[in-house]
Each structure stands twice: as C-alpha cells, then as structure tokens.
C-alpha cells in the first residue's frame, strides 16, 4: 500500500488535521529516501475544516472545491491578464510570504503606479469571513474580485474584456474545461475558480493552533502574553480568528477625512471611521498595520493602544474607561503580548508551495 510510507514523517492523525489533504507523487513525500516508485496520482485538493475551527460561513456546496478548479483559480490569481496592461495580478499586492498581505507597503501600487486607498489586508481563512473590505462593502467572497479588476487604481480592466482575453488565450479554455466540464468561460465560473483558490488559503497550523488542538504547548512567556491578550484585547480580537468581525473605531487619528470607513457603506454617522476588526493571525508577517498601514511595527501598534488613542464621538466605548483612553500597558506587558502574537505565525501556510505561483 503506497500511502503507508509517507506517513512515517507525521502521524496519520496529523495528516488528517492538515487543511489540505495532499497526495503528492510518492517520491516527494518519502522524506528524502531514494524511492523509485512513481505514483501518477496528481496532487489532490480538498477543503477540510480544521478541528479547532467552526463551520465556515461560505457555502462550499455551491462551489465544491476540486483540484482542477483550485489550479485554475491559482493560475488566475497570479496572472496579469486580469489587468488592463498585463502588469498587475492579484499576487502583486497579495504576497504569500506576507500571508497574502503586501509586505512593507502602507498603501499598494496598482496599475500606472497609482496608490490604493487602503492597506492591503492578509488573505487567510476567507471561508470564515462574512464581509470583505476594511469597510465590509462586499458580502460575498465570489463577488469580491470584481472590485480590484475594475478599480481604476488597481487593475483597471473590465469584466467583459477579461473574459474575452481568457476566451482568446490558448491556455485558459482547456483549464476551464478541466475544472468545469466545458470550455465555456463565464463570469460565474471565473469568479468561482478564483474563490476556490482563496478558500484554500487556510492558515491553521500556527503554534497557537497546535496549542489549541493539544499538539503543542506554549512557553511560560507566551502564556503570560496570552493571559494579557485575553484580558485586554479579546473583546474585539476574539476567538479562533482573533476578530469578532465587527466594525469599530479604535481611536486612530483621522488622516484621510474622505475615508469614512463603515459609514461609507451604511451612510450612518454613528459608523464614521469604523473599520473591520482585523484577524491577527500571521500578524508578525503583515506589517505595516491598520487600514492605512500607518504603523510599521507591532511595538507602534501597542504604543497606540497605550498612549495614542484619540477620543471622538464614534470611539469604541471599550477604549474609554472613565477618563482613561485606550489600554494602559507597561513596556514588559507590550513585550509579552508581542511574544504571544508571534505564536500566530503559520509557516506551513506561508510556505505551502501549493499556494505559490507555479
């Protein structure tokens, strides 16, 4: 039985817990041993819910993830053909090594070097997210990609053009045929393939995940940091994903008045300058921080919560305790919280070659 051997490297149980079931040609998994047996079976992609995750929000039964659908989605994600002049792909701004955020960019450059309005967020565990954008303007992952493609400062292309370019290419009709049974290229198939790739960007193997599943333990310092975090941060950065997915104003000074945040979507002045509470998974890799990328380090973020919180009519009440604004923190507390946040880094995800440009 050819599948027994690779499992030598990890327990079968661990393999099942991986968010991907990967059946890679035999030689690759034999841990460096010379083995001439060649298993012709291609890598197989399956959407598996990690045991420490809740049920996903995305209805997978509407868009069952297949190996070919995923491969098509990945090809599209990394292809500049989605932009007007062929120069910008989704992967230009969403880089795997930065958990699909944009490393070292407060704002990102789209086509013709134009700046985006906001900081590029990490893309991970999107199947568990109900709304997208810093302001939650899009309520369905499938509909999301329309925005970067058509935004004049990102890819500046139109949907009819993108689909026509794909239809006329030599490469894509066969890929659509493999994924969906015929080479007809429709908006629905295009968007669903892109979603299949993005849905598989599951980060569930950080040290913290392993701790949650009882597979690893945290050091004394990491535990101290966790206790501080639980006391001071989890009212907003809650649960397995470190966000309650709500929109809040965490007291940043207003730098761009035109970006009113959640109020842009609801037209409600109670929502002025509220932004989505971001997940903190892989947070050590996604600098700079906040919706406009204003903080270059986690130290600066914690200094903000400690001393920088600015009062305003929509400041979140949790950050105003009597006359005290923000979350007072000692230098040691800040250090320990950052030690804990580092346990959210998931190397398996950041280096998973299945998610990389091929």
């Amino acid at each position: 039985m050819k599948f027994i051997r690779p499992f030598r490297c990890m327990t079968a149980q661990k393999i099942l817990r991986l968010s991907f079931i990967i059946i890679i040609p035999f030689a690759l998994l034999s841990c460096g041993e010379t083995d001439t047996a060649i298993n012709q079976e291609p890598e197989k992609i399956e959407f598996i819910i990690p045991s420490n995750f809740p049920a996903p929000v995305y209805n997978i039964s509407r868009n069952p993830i297949t190996t070919d659908g995923f491969i098509l989605g990945r090809t599209l994600f990394y292809d500049g053909i989605l932009s007007r002049d062929g120069t910008i792909s989704c992967g230009t701004c969403h880089q795997q090594s930065a958990a699909f955020a944009h490393a070292a960019h407060d704002l990102s450059h789209g086509i013709d070097d134009q700046l985006t309005l906001r900081n590029t967020p990490a893309l991970h565990n999107l199947a568990w997210q109900k709304e997208f954008f810093w302001d939650g303007g899009v309520g369905d992952l499938d509909l999301f990609a329309i925005n970067p493609i058509q935004a004049h400062n990102e890819m500046d292309e139109t949907l009819p053009n993108v689909l026509n370019k794909l239809r006329q290419s030599a490469k894509y009709p066969p890929l659509f045929k493999k994924a969906f049974g015929s080479d007809s290229i429709t908006l629905e198939r295009f968007l669903k393939a892109l979603s299949q790739f993005q849905l598989m960007c599951i980060s569930s193997n950080s040290k913290f995940d392993k701790y949650q599943r009882g597979e690893a333990s945290l050091t004394a310092e990491e535990m101290q940091g966790k206790t501080l975090f639980d006391n001071k941060c989890t009212s907003c950065h809650k649960g397995t994903f470190f966000t309650d997915l709500s929109y809040r104003n965490n007291g940043l000074t207003i730098r761009n008045k035109a970006d009113s945040g959640r109020a842009k979507i609801t037209l409600n002045s109670d929502h002025l300058y509220q932004f989505k509470v971001p997940s903190l998974r892989n947070i050590t890799e996604t600098a700079p921080y906040m919706h406009d990328g204003r903080f270059s380090s986690l130290e600066k973020v914690l200094d903000h919560y400690d001393k920088g919180v600015k009062d305003s009519p929509t400041l979140d009440p949790l950050l105003r305790q009597g006359t005290i604004l923000g979350i007072p923190l000692t230098a040691e507390e800040k250090r320990l919280i950052i030690v804990f946040l580092a346990t959210l880094k998931d190397d398996t995800f950041l280096r998973n070659r299945l998610l990389s440009q091929q």
């Binding site: 509407r62 939650g136 899009v138 499938d142 935004a151 609801t266 037209l267």
Partner: protein, 276 residues
C-alpha cells in the same frame, strides 16, 4: 419602433387611430381566455420628455428651468406581475423577471414576457430596481440583465456590492463647474448586514378600460411612457446647479422618489402574435 421624424403629436394621432381600429377589432372577436393556454405580452417602455420624444443629446428644460442634454439613460425593471380584470395575479417567475431598459439599445425598451396564461389583464406591477433578495444572491443567480460581465456591466457597484437601479448622465450649462456634467447613479437595496438606503420602488399601472387580452394568438403590446422630466420634479425639484451628482448617498432618495412617478400607461395594442 421610434418614429423620430414625426412630431410626437402627429405620431400619437396616428397611433391612436390605428390603435382604435385594432382594439375595437379585438374587442369584437377575442375569444374567452383558456386557462390551459399561454401567450405573450410586450411591455414597451417609451422614454419621453414631457410631450416630446426623448432622444440623447437633445436639449430639454427641467422643472428648475435648467437646460440639459442626456448621454446615458438606463434602468432596471423587475419582478413583473399582471392582474386580470377578475383580480387574479400572475407573477412572472423571478429568475426570468429582470430587464434592463437601455435607451441606447433599441430592442431593450420592449420587454417581452412569454408563457403568460391567457387572460384579460388590466393592471401591470413592477419594481424599478433589483429587489433586496436578489441583490444578495450568489453569482449563479445573476444571469441575463444581472450579469455584471454582460448587460449589467455598468450597473453594479463593486465596492459596495449592489446594482445601480437607475443611471442617467448628461450635461447642463446650468452647472458651474469645469465639466458641466451631471450623474445620477441611483441604487441601494437596504444593505447586507447593516441597514442603509433603500431605493427599491414598485410601480402599479392600471390599463384603464381596455384590458390586454393575452391569447395564444394575441400578444398585446402595453405602451408605457417614462417621462424623464419627472426625474427632476415631483417629490422634490432637483437643481443641477446645486448638486449635479447623485450616487450612493441619502440625497439619492430624492431622485428615486421622483422617478418612481415617471411612468404612465398610454395604450394597449391587442395585436396578433408574431407581428412584433
């Protein structure tokens, strides 16, 4: 078909004469409806400007006395129902009840509905815009007029997912800006998870005394006038000089409350099927 070379009055006169001939003809000979049979009906949305035929780039004057010309005019008509003289309501199946009336696409102004049970219909009801349920449906439920890569390509806000229900653009010398353009992009279905503006409007038009007699061999054409001057007046007079741009904003509600009243029933043409 628009007969642009005839003055509107002359045209109306001819249409009325022809129409009275046909309607009296069908009144006399139409058989009783057979509920087991179906036919079709056409709703023609004829954009007009007051008493004039509406055309792009022609100058009209709005209620505020401002002259303007138009370059884009399109709107969604959806969720159509027909009511018989005895009060029975026939609702077009939702999946095929979305239409984009686009002044630049002549065929789009005639909304053809098929598989309608035979009947004498006296009332038509429809939504201007896209209902909130459809507005949150997954991509596979957005076909035809709702396909953002097809007919619906310029009628969708990708940053705030939702359809633009009504789009009108043009220019006016009254607008005192470098570009004297006006833009009305009106939408808003109420919001995904938090409440926001709702510009979904429903319209009910009575066809008066002559019903539309749908038969397997009669495909009535219901002629509906859409008076675009009413976009600027009614609920609130719009002054382009004050605000030339209405998009996703609270004030967009004023435009929607105006245009919901721009529709009026003109006449029905109970003509033999296949003549259109």
């Amino acid at each position: 078909m628009k007969q642009l070379f005839l003055s509107y009055t002359l045209r109306a006169l001819i249409v009325a004469t022809v129409f009275s001939f046909f309607s009296s003809c069908s009144d006399d000979h139409t058989t009783a409806p057979d509920a087991t049979k179906t036919g079709s009906i056409i709703l023609e949305f004829d954009n007009v400007a007051g008493d004039d035929e509406f055309t792009f780039n022609k100058e009209y004057t709005n209620a505020a006395g401002e002259k303007f010309t138009t370059t884009i005019l399109k709107y969604y008509i959806s969720n159509i129902s027909l009511v018989t003289t005895s009060g029975t309501v026939y609702t077009v199946p939702q999946d095929i009840s979305y239409f984009l009336v686009d002044e630049s696409v002549p065929t789009s102004t005639k909304v053809k509905l098929s598989n309608i049970p035979e009947g004498d219909y006296k009332e038509v009801r429809y939504t201007v815009g896209v209902d909130s349920v459809r507005s949150t449906m997954p991509i596979e439920k957005r076909q035809g007029a709702l396909d953002m890569s097809g007919q619906g390509k310029d009628m969708y806000w990708e940053w705030n997912s939702g359809y633009i229900f009504f789009k009108m653009e043009g220019s006016s010398p009254a607008i005192n800006e470098v570009e004297n353009n006006f833009r009305f992009h009106i939408g808003g279905f109420g919001g995904y998870s938090a409440q926001t503006i709702n510009n979904i409007k429903t319209v009910t038009l009575s066809m008066g005394t002559t019903p539309a007699t749908v038969r397997s061999d009669i495909a009535p054409e219901v002629h509906i006038l859409a008076d675009i001057l009413r976009v600027f007046s009614g609920n609130r007079t719009i002054e382009l000089a004050k605000n030339p741009s209405y998009m996703f904003s609270r004030s967009s509600v004023d435009i929607a409350n105006n245009y919901m009243n721009m529709f009026s029933f003109d006449h029905v043409h109970n003509d033999a099927a296949h003549s259109h």
